[in-house]
Symmetry: C2
């Protein structure tokens, strides 16, 4: 019985290990837990493979595993996951801001580079960008010490009719969605108003600047927004919290790398 408790994150994790920890962290954030099947789906591997890797990760102190019950990252595992996430998001920011990558193509590139880049390189890139708080898709960048803004946000689908909010974030994993969002100028920092919503989960009319694009509820549910300070909250739907609910681990948001993405 080995006692490898909550010490420092080993410097040399394999790429698959980093991917598992990252995926488990993100599942924990979204669903409060990470089931074998969910991890398998997130990583596109067979569930049996996940069971095997989980055993290994548990034995190395990255997570706790109750058979048939799911996994939970230890402090060590969470720090390792956040380190990889920091790398990923700084890489995305750098590729977009400095090398002109469109925002729908940075994910795959960052996904590979995050396992190969040294801490030194990552910090040089962060410095070159002025230490941004969020990546081009609005995802908060953890600090080198593992602090990150874990606030939940409402989605466009949660808004009340007439409500105006600021777009804050969208997943980086769906290139065609990202291309479409760029087309209708729906990007982090932009103000968006819910003009109308057709019944029975029908199309949603937005106002973005002078345009009034109509989007499906499926798209709307993927776009995260936040209240604009000083605007009354006219809640209509049940939703995840927007104002600080859990104690924040990170610092304030705001600065963000300009994303000069080129749709198509």
């Amino acid at each position: 019985m080995k006692s490898s408790q909550s010490s420092r994150v080993p410097p040399t994790l394999t790429a698959p290990v980093e991917d598992y920890l990252k995926a488990i962290y993100e599942l924990e954030q979204r669903h409060g837990a990470a089931a074998t099947t969910d991890v398998a789906q997130a990583l596109a591997v067979a569930p049996a493979s996940v069971t095997g890797m989980i055993r290994r990760l548990a034995s190395q102190g990255f997570l706790d595993h109750v058979p048939y019950r799911g996994v939970q990252l230890t402090d060590l595992g969470r720090r390792a996951a956040l380190r990889t996430i920091r790398r990923h998001r700084i890489l995305e920011s750098y590729l977009t801001a400095v090398l002109g990558y469109p925002w729908d193509r940075v994910h795959d590139e960052a996904e590979r580079l995050e396992h190969a880049a040294s801490d030194d390189l990552i910090e040089r890139m962060a410095a070159a960008l002025g230490h941004p708080d969020a990546d081009p898709h609005g995802a908060p960048i953890p600090t080198a010490e593992g602090q990150v803004d874990e606030r939940r946000h409402r989605t466009l689908a949660d808004l009340a009719i007439g409500e105006t909010t600021r777009m804050v974030r969208v997943s980086d994993k769906n290139p065609s969605l990202l291309r479409y969002l760029a087309e209708i100028a729906l990007q982090p920092g932009v103000e968006v108003t819910l003009v109308a919503r057709a019944p029975f989960d029908g199309p949603i009319t937005l106002r973005i600047g002078a345009d009034e694009p109509i989007v499906g509820p499926n798209l709307a549910a993927q776009v995260l927004v936040e209240s604009i300070p000083g605007t009354p909250i006219t809640s209509t739907r049940s939703s995840t919290s927007d104002s600080p609910a859990q104690p924040l681990t990170g610092k304030s948001r705001g600065k963000r790398a300009e994303s000069d993405s080129t749709p198509r």
Copy 2:
């Protein structure tokens, strides 16, 4: 019996495979052939491991292997090797010129990134640098089509007394040597004169600008130089050729990324 002849380089080679092909290419350049032991030493693995990998690479058409005789890259293998070398050298150039890496620390970083970067990323970096011909250590960068300047050069140790040449290249693999060279300002593009050479392989006095550093024969043999056009060649020692010997595969040299390395 599969027929995977001299077609295109498969897009997805593993990192070890890329490392083997690169090492074999470089050994072929230097010694005309690549022996099992040499490859093993270059990659820091056991000779038996090399035998195994060589069998696999031969079966995939990357090289020809005559048991107990050594290996030779096929056209396919050579193209794969040059692709990796191009990535490596563009990465070194970019890290040095754009992110302020000192020239003694780019090798390790490039060594990992070369396996993870996409062609797109590499070409964006090359474009950002104005498509340099050589990396910060003077190594020629192969074109995307696999053309490269394979000229051999003399070393500082080969010079005649009083001869003035231009420093062109040094290996990127020895950080402390690189730091010392930066200290005495002996970098690619710099003019260097052989002032004196003590007998019995003794210390060598150089002139670089206004300085006259004294270096050992061991160091001198690692620094590649080329004749300055219009300077008579006063040969004294046996040496590898300097003027075009083998037909060139690459284009002319010249442009080179500024290396703003910061020694210590």
